[in-house]
């Protein structure tokens, strides 16, 4: 059972000095760079805890397994992970837990081999929120498309599924065109997909993206085609990434949760368990947006989303 493993491990450590590793989907992108600031901050705030962040160079499940494998070998005390593909991490996370390593995941509410998963918010609510925005901008009618980072990314799919369901129930004059489009978390692929989509659906009115790169790539395609005013683009992204498109109107609104806070929160959860504490429903993580986290099974939900448009984008310098 995870709890016994968790309580045993720290005893072996000298003086509560812990090493907590955070593993992200891939390195180099702004989203996870921002997460790294939170991870580092945690290390500063808790001087006897060493924190660092690693990740594969490409968004590739096998490479992420490799990274975790190496961390197990180094004997870290806890691993906080943002899985690229939750299922493919199960075996290696099991191995980690068998070694007594505490495992916390993020954006993977179905992950099995973890102590806890931390979600910024309830996914269905977030997805519906986007659809409401989109519908308003489109005048509740017309064709729209959706994009996800990958069809296997659980949260992305929950968002768009909830959004689509909400549209079917509430906006009968809107039509979803084609299947979910995949961007592989890559702005360039999103851009290429975007160009194809614009060609294939000349009457397109709206688009909802999921990975931080989706609206960036799509926005570029829209901007190049000069369709800023015809097409509404909303989705998760980061101000630094989508800012220039928000300003030109190619992207209309983005939502996000602050990855640095999520990273901080995961580390906090991990440290609690290492210290032998048990996180409970409704507790305050001491992180903005996670003041009262709701526990469902092994998943904690916060209320940490933010809407950003051309007006307030400059308030978020990351």
């Amino acid at each position: 059972a995870p709890k016994t493993a968790a309580t045993e491990a720290p005893v072996a450590e000298e003086g509560g000095n812990y090493t907590i590793a955070t593993v992200v989907k891939l390195t180099g992108v702004a989203w996870f760079d921002r997460m790294e600031t939170g991870v580092k901050q945690f290390g500063v705030d808790y001087p006897n805890v060493t924190t660092f962040q690693q990740g594969p160079a490409e968004a590739d499940a096998a490479q992420q397994v490799q990274v975790i494998e190496d961390l197990i070998a180094q004997g870290v005390d806890a691993i906080c992970v943002v899985p690229f593909q939750p299922d493919s991490l199960e075996p290696v996370l099991k191995k980690a837990m068998d070694q007594g390593i505490v495992v916390i995941s993020h954006e993977a509410s179905n992950q099995q081999n973890v102590n806890f998963d931390l979600e910024a918010f309830d996914n269905a609510g977030y997805g519906e929120h986007f659809m409401k925005q989109l519908a308003e901008m489109m005048g509740e009618e017309g064709e729209y498309v959706v994009m996800v980072g990958s069809l296997t990314s659980k949260t992305h799919n929950e968002w768009v599924d909830a959004a689509i369901a909400y549209q079917k129930a509430n906006y009968p004059n809107m039509t979803l065109m084609g299947d979910k489009n995949e961007s592989y978390d890559d702005a360039q692929k999103a851009y290429e997909k975007g160009k194809e989509i614009l060609k294939a659906y000349p009457n397109l009115k709206g688009m909802q993206g999921s990975s931080a790169n989706d609206v960036v790539g799509f926005g570029q395609a829209v901007e190049e085609a000069g369709l800023q005013d015809q097409i509404a683009v909303v989705g998760t992204s980061m101000p630094s990434m989508a800012g220039k498109y928000l300003k030109t109107g190619a992207v209309d609104s983005i939502g996000f949760w602050d990855p640095s806070l999520a990273g901080y929160g995961m580390n906090k959860l991990a440290l609690m368990i290492l210290n032998g504490e048990t996180p409970t429903d409704g507790m305050d993580l001491g992180v903005a947006g996670y003041e009262s986290i709701k526990l469902v099974g092994k998943v904690f939900y916060g209320q940490a989303w933010v809407d950003v448009t051309a007006e307030n984008v400059d308030d978020y310098p990351f």
Binding site: A61, A62, A73
Partner: protein, 364 residues
């Protein structure tokens, strides 16, 4: 005899290309074979010692060996598969795609036959079937490569580039681009231990031992080496080059499939585009292991050493640089540096040896 001409066409494309000079280059590689092994062995041990000294509490421990054991297997198996193709004088760029395609089809079989509510014996049967069918798929893919190379006459690099695209394409068609997953029982293959030794490592060791025997003691192995060193002479010795090539690529495909099975077990998932960089890594390992790019030579043992040295290097660097998110990148850099350095050392030491032999007093 079309392949005779084919080889003529490939090898004989200059008047001078078949002259002494060219052949003596191959000789040069042969003579360093054993030196190569020795040097490689020293490098491996050297890296190990340096890493152990730098991180005495982290590097030389059982946990770390186990972890490395899990990581080495698939790339080691792919390296051997690549070496086979290279010994014939060819190359196999499709290995990775074969591995992925196999993983995907195995996962289909497993999830169909051994869904959540299936009894224990049937799960065992499903696992067995998945492995057998997986290997057969690898063989079929390899046969296609062999056919294109030996019977149609497409240079190996292009044939396997085409088939790589094709196999990856099929993988995308089957999965529609998403990942496929394995079943609980199958994860043991990639994550279990026997007597504390990771199962993937055991699989790799078994493959290595079998391949050492095949290459050194079987008629197929002998023919393969001979064909690779001089395809024309092997035709003139009554070896059916086309058959040998066909079998080699089939074997190489089968090994790729095995790697795919290990990956499926280890990550519990199969994707059409897993580990795209594996092909280049396999090539790197083969070259570092002493396989001659022009064919004909290469020892499986050298390959095993190369896998170990690169794994020590990667894991060691990862530990050293663990605070830096760029550990992976430094690994990339050091692999490239290592391979170039290694090749340069080989060339320079060989040149020095040649010069020395000229200076030697004339034998009576």
């Amino acid at each position: 005899m079309s392949d005779y001409n084919n080889h003529l066409d490939n090898n004989d494309n200059g008047n001078g290309k078949n002259s002494f000079q060219e052949r003596f280059n191959a000789t040069r590689f042969l003579k360093i074979q054993d030196w190569n092994l020795m040097r490689l062995f020293l490098i491996t041990v050297g890296i190990f010692i340096v890493m152990s000294l730098l991180m005495p509490t982290k590097f030389p421990r059982v946990l770390n060996f186990q972890s490395m054991g899990f990581q080495m297997s698939e790339i080691g198996i792919l390296g051997i598969a690549m070496a086979l193709a290279m010994i014939t004088g060819g190359i196999d760029l499709s290995l990775n795609s074969v591995a992925n395609l196999t993983g995907i089809l195995c996962s289909v079989i497993l999830t169909r036959l051994a869904g959540p509510n299936v009894a224990e014996p049937q799960v065992g049967l499903a696992v067995f079937l998945a492995i057998v069918i997986g290997l057969v798929i690898g063989i079929v893919c390899g046969l296609l490569n062999g056919f294109l190379i030996a019977y149609v006459g497409i240079p190996a690099m292009l044939a396997t580039l085409g088939s790589m695209t094709l196999f990856t394409g099929f993988a995308f068609v089957i999965t529609k681009g998403t990942g496929f997953f394995g079943i609980e029982a199958f994860q043991k293959i990639g994550n279990g231990y026997v007597a504390g030794i990771p199962i993937p490592l055991i699989i790799f060791a078994a493959v290595a031992v079998i391949m050492i025997v095949v290459m050194n003691n079987s008629s197929f192995g002998l023919k393969l080496y001979l064909l690779g060193s001089n395809p024309k002479a092997s035709i003139f010795s009554g070896i059916d080059n086309r058959k040998v090539l066909l079998r080699t690529y089939a074997l190489s495909g089968m090994l790729a499939a095995l790697a795919g099975i290990v990956i499926l077990g280890r990550t519990n998932s199969a994707n059409p585009d897993y580990g795209a960089s594996y092909v280049l890594q396999a090539l790197l390992i083969a070259v570092l292991g002493g396989v001659n790019v022009n064919g004909g030579f290469g020892k499986i043992l050298g390959l095993v050493l190369a896998v170990f040295s690169l794994q020590f290097l990667s894991t060691g660097l990862n530990m050293l640089l663990f605070r830096s998110p760029g550990a992976n990148f430094f690994k990339m850099f050091s692999w490239g540096a290592l391979i170039i350095l290694f090749m340069i050392i080989n060339v320079v030491s060989e040149r020095r040896k040649q010069r020395a032999s000229i200076k030697k007093p004339k034998p009576a």
